[in-house]
Symmetry: C2
Subunit: 494 residues, 2 copies
């Protein structure tokens, strides 16, 4: 641990600061999706804004992502309506609540849903382009310039019975998986157009508090020197998550270490969370994260079944890749196999991210079962039971949707999808500072910490767990609640 990190936990005290190197109204830490949106809104609300970024350019983890944005409800965004979807806010709300399970933050979900159409329009107004078209394949992101996509578990049971399925993932109008860089280019142009004082290669070291525990500023390091920043209205922490901090992962989210591909930027070291903890903030949902087994495309593999080393199915295969990743990682099983009919394998080599090897093949199920070393007779039953009901368009065990049900025909093959055996298992953190929808940070006793705001993966935001994740939830959360944090900070009077 560097000296900077070790000293981040305790705030500096304003009484010990004779003069400030910088003065502003709102000081924002981190220039990614959340920080840029916070800066734009705080500036548009009339506040002086300083933006501090540790690296030498804007972008954060948002620029590295696909920048899908989860939006809808309110009768539908312009794109949803153009594609024939009349999305309802209640459906979107009920869906999001079910996704997050016992960890759901109802106030955040309600605020997010009620303002989702406004958020779409705000992004469009800022220059973010969305084509009025739908990408209809089952995929992780749009690989064309088409916009709208089912990005989560909307059509999978039990979600499809809780809320009418509607696609809400909005991909930017750009060919291929290039939404992130474009999104951050546009946001950065918006920041540049405004009177926002941006400091690159500047690391936030610690917060500054007064005698009443109000956050009144920030200590930064710039050109090898420590400098003080007085933030008259507030500090907004948008410094990312902690997926790049292995010690912190081990301590707070050891489960995530089952993944092998930390997804984020090198600045995702948890520094914003530590700064918050140092002033008594609560960090919640810290054990949770996004994990995934990205086994589609090709979508045809969805006709297959996942089984554990007991030859049992354990999840409906038509769910989101993160949901299937979560259930695979928690199976308490030495092996996870995706078993499918050879006829559905055709395009596997093209475009698949998972990198799973063939673990066995068989002209009969018995042959495959034996080759995989599964308990004799159980895989046979699992597939016969599955096939018999699939032929009738039913899945009484896991309620896979009819669209993906057909009897599996010989010959069969199995992909070894076991985490830790060569497959790609991306992960990132979903725990962080507990905030109100406004971005105000809550202390461990539930009170508001005056002058402190946070958004993005520095917070426990709207997305709370892999089994209910949908692509677009994190960038959606970071940009939307980043905006609210900027607005709230700008209006704060100390």
């Amino acid at each position: 641990m560097s000296k900077d990190q070790a000293s981040a936990i305790h705030p500096a005290r304003s009484a010990a600061i004779d003069s400030w190197d910088f003065e502003t109204d709102v000081a924002i830490v981190g220039y990614g999706g959340a920080g840029s949106c916070a800066a734009i809104e705080a500036s548009d609300a009339g506040a002086r804004v300083m933006l501090f970024e540790a690296s030498s350019d804007s972008g954060g983890s948002t620029a590295l992502s696909s920048a899908e944005i989860y939006m809808g409800g309110n009768g539908g965004t312009r794109v949803q309506r153009a594609c024939g979807y009349e999305d309802s806010s209640e459906d979107m709300f009920n869906f999001l609540m079910a996704c997050q399970g016992p960890q759901a933050d109802e106030a955040k979900i309600r605020t997010y849903v009620d303002n989702s159409l406004d958020h779409f329009n705000w992004l469009v107004d800022k220059g973010v382009p969305f084509k009025d078209s739908e990408y209809k394949e089952r995929a992780i992101m749009s690989l064309t310039d088409d916009c709208l996509l089912f990005t989560g578990n909307e059509k999978a049971w039990p979600f499809r019975e809780i809320a009418k399925p509607c696609p809400r993932g909005h991909n930017l109008y750009i060919e291929g998986d290039n939404g992130g860089p474009l999104f951050m280019k546009i946001m950065s142009e918006n920041v540049s157009k405004r009177d926002i004082d941006v400091h690159f290669e500047t690391r936030a070291l610690r917060l500054v508090t007064d005698e009443e525990h109000n956050v009144v500023g920030l200590v930064i390091r710039q050109n090898k020197q420590e400098k003080t920043v007085r933030a008259h209205k507030g500090v907004v922490l948008c410094a990312g998550g902690f997926v790049m901090n292995e010690a912190m992962l081990k301590r707070y989210a050891p489960f995530l270490l089952k993944g092998n591909a930390p997804t984020g930027n090198p600045g995702d070291t948890g520094s914003g969370i530590l700064m918050g903890l140092g002033v008594g903030a609560a960090a919640i949902n810290m054990h949770e994260g996004f994990v995934s087994l990205p086994f589609y495309p090709p979508a045809s593999l969805t006709y297959g079944i996942f089984v554990n080393d007991r030859g049992q199915r354990f999840i409906s295969e038509d769910g989101y890749h993160g949901r299937i990743g979560y259930y695979s990682l928690t199976q308490d099983s030495d092996r996870i196999y995706l078993i499918f009919s050879a006829e559905d394998f055709a395009s596997y080599q093209q475009g698949n991210y998972l990198g799973a090897d063939i673990a066995g093949t068989g002209e009969t199920i018995e042959e495959l079962e034996s080759e995989l070393g599964l308990p004799a007779g159980n895989l046979v039953h699992t597939i016969e039971f599955y096939n018999e009901h699939a032929a009738a368009g039913e899945d009484p065990q896991f309620r896979k949707s009819k669209e993906w049900l057909k009897p599996m025909a010989a010959p069969y093959a199995a992909l070894d999808c076991t985490p830790g055996r060569g497959v790609f298992v991306p992960m990132f953190t979903l725990g962080g500072l507990d905030t109100l929808p406004s971005g105000e940070v809550l202390s461990a006793d539930g009170s508001i910490i005056p002058g402190l705001y946070a958004a993005g993966r520095t917070t426990a935001g709207l997305p709370r767990r892999a089994q209910g994740y949908a692509s677009g939830m994190s960038v959606g959360d970071a940009t939307f609640f980043g905006r609210l944090a900027g607005i709230a900070a700008a209006s704060h009077t100390s």
Copy 2:
């Protein structure tokens, strides 16, 4: 939230305290298992000790428990050896590591194991009686005055292959489930014999820190007045967990709310954890807790099988009740059934804690399956597959031990063990302050907070999760690491 709780998060500053109402070397918060052991050891190390307890008597949650204590290794305790067990430290270490999974704290486990025999002898020296005898039934605690019991998953797969099974749960020499009150009576007598200044009906409100963030004292409330305590050597937080604080459970451990019987004393409100957080301490493992489906005794139900609403088995039924509780609560299933042959039901009404109702019966499996509304054909397969292999003394899916394998014979019955449908699901928290084995509290950046110590359920101790829990781990952890915290605080020089 009371005003006291709301103000607990920020420490008082020593510079603002003109004179102290009390002065001592070591101030201990909480007079349960951890606090009493910390007080005795700190006193025996020559420190002046003050002990603050919010209620009007000693006891804490330890007095409400069975006070089983998990001990062994080092060739065996006196009781283990008398009962013919030569326990090895490596077996005990490997077992405990496997139990805690990715959350295991290796340093704590190593220290606990290496000193386990010493701890047994220390307890005996303090007057804690253990009979040199074994309770041989599969049970939650000894219901006679016998001592030694298998209290965890020692004999269940995969643990039995990781470490040679050995019973390590030590019950006190007293008839029935009365170990807790006796244990705390003995510890309280030991405290009384020493020059330890005990203050009942005294609530610890917040810590006191100096300008360098050292913990130097405590603010308490006594007789409706706030008073200050200078602790020259250290403060030891032994204030219990947070299972009685519903807001904190909802925030940090929403999963535990699937339980319906908070197990602890009314003071388990998380106040010690909040005080630690207020000075920058890390709270880890906060989402985890003990949960259980205490379905035995009668042990004969272990011949049955647990299934989910898909008719699948999901865990070996010979495991610890907490392990089976954990897997039941995480099944993502509308129902959890324990299915058994009527011949194993005989004694169910007597001595069972679970309170599950009969959900269905059948002269045939088909009849039972239909009565339970399970997908037709799958329970039939599950039981036929199970029976076929059980007849050969094998369980290729879950590796239940031979001792509990026999084909299930008609007629059959099912108990509805679904959490939330009337069954008793006890729970308590296993998250808290991150400490070194010495009890020194670690800040969120990994540094030691000088002057602050903690033990028991205020900390993330040795036991970390329900699926690897064994009865005796929590009182074992609290008493052993309470002692170390008392010793470390007494030797601290500020």
